[in-house]
Symmetry: C2
Subunit: 248 residues, 2 copies
């Protein structure tokens, strides 16, 4: 990309994406500065403190930063976007011995972003995603994650079996979240003395995990009243992460 006039609304097949907003742009600068190729700012943002920090970074690092409302309006569906960074997509891989979060076919971009934010909050920073799934680089995901995307390692797999082959020897506790599982507090208490890492596994927003996951590891269930059908996916993930990590 030689100039801003070439920047178009994000599409999945682009080799780059955008942080839309001051906060995710600062998180990108603080965590993955090397992948930033340019910065676009709103002329309305000149008195914004975050934008001052972004400009300081651009000056120090020699990355082009332009006040360009037209480009910003073109690439951001939301008004009131004060800053955007263009960044190259990057590869990352999961830590073999870390605790993992495994998302099977997550479909909603806002949910995926909220999950990344919450996983980072509870110190789970290795995330496996089983396709088909939302595109983690979509600016809506980046925005909903509040930039937590840049804190985590993530990896897409075509099938759950591929993840299993790569990471699940006998040394890992697999916890699929399912309606037929045991209460999570019991499962978490049983795991407390385990020397092995765990993988918390969640299904798709509308369909959950298929029945075959009952045969995998120790299925767990978040108990709730019968007055709702289910918790929403980010909430179920957040309560699972909270229960299985040491932050509670």
């Amino acid at each position: 990309m030689e100039d801003n006039t070439r920047l178009k609304p994000y599409k999945k097949d682009f080799g780059y994406s955008y942080t839309l907003g001051v906060f995710p742009t600062l998180e990108l600068i603080n965590n993955k500065p090397d992948v930033i190729s340019r910065i676009v700012l709103s002329t309305k943002s000149e008195s914004n403190q975050g934008v001052a920090k972004i400009l300081e970074f651009a000056k120090k690092s020699g990355i082009p930063a332009l006040f360009d409302d037209k480009t910003l309006n073109r690439i951001s569906p939301k008004e009131n976007c004060f800053a955007a960074a263009v960044f190259e997509k990057y590869d990352c891989s999961l830590e073999v011995t870390a605790n993992h979060l495994v998302l099977v076919n997550p479909a909603d971009k806002g949910n995926l972003g909220t999950i990344l934010r919450t996983a980072t909050a509870f110190g789970i920073e290795n995330i496996a995603i089983i396709s088909p799934a939302a595109d983690i680089y979509d600016p809506k995901v980046v925005r909903a994650s509040m930039g937590a995307l840049f804190h985590v390692n993530f990896c897409y797999f075509e099938k759950f079996e591929d993840y299993q082959k790569a990471f699940c020897g006998t040394n890992r506790n697999l916890i699929p979240f399912m309606l037929d599982g045991q209460p999570i507090n019991k499962v978490a208490a049983d795991l407390k003395d385990s020397d092995y890492s765990f993988s918390l596994i969640y299904g798709n927003e509308s369909s959950g995990l298929p029945a075959e996951f009952l045969q995998i590891g120790t299925p767990a269930r978040i108990m709730h009243s019968n007055n709702v059908d289910s918790l929403n996916l980010p909430m179920a993930v957040g309560i699972g992460l909270y229960t299985f990590t040491n932050f509670n």
Copy 2:
């Protein structure tokens, strides 16, 4: 409303609102059938099982139900809305001796709906809302709540003090969620033997609770890593509800 041609996109000052979608419409039918004044259905929905149940209810109760795509498109911002009910707004009041959730200035409609769904899941069905706040009757709230709105008692108050005067004698444990609070597990353990009900109190999405809430009851805090600024509001509420109720 004598016919569908009068139905317009929802505004806060209307005396009625809409459930947009089959699921929230069925929840309304199951929980507050008396407030329904009419039903609008999509011609694309004829083979939908939920719509069959809605039609059965309309037939039994004598409430008018019409297939009317034009009206549905006019009142629903989302495509693929198969059913809507028009319902009269109703008054409700909080149970004096129940556990309460208190939301101070919640601004986001989707968040408010998610919170209602999660509160219902964990059996907290009395919700105080301090103004200014999102309109709980907005169809976006109803939709995000998956119809849980119709399970809860809610009441708006102009100031927190008004809620306090009405409901907080010496017989209620007040738990404001704040960064300066004690870890919630400690607070929850200390409360376990209390004979009194509790009120979990949460601030606005961007500003949290003002400092004066430190003087009120026992401030509590959800511990998390420093790699995120905060949890999002529904997540913080969900983890608080999960920790303080008997579903965990």
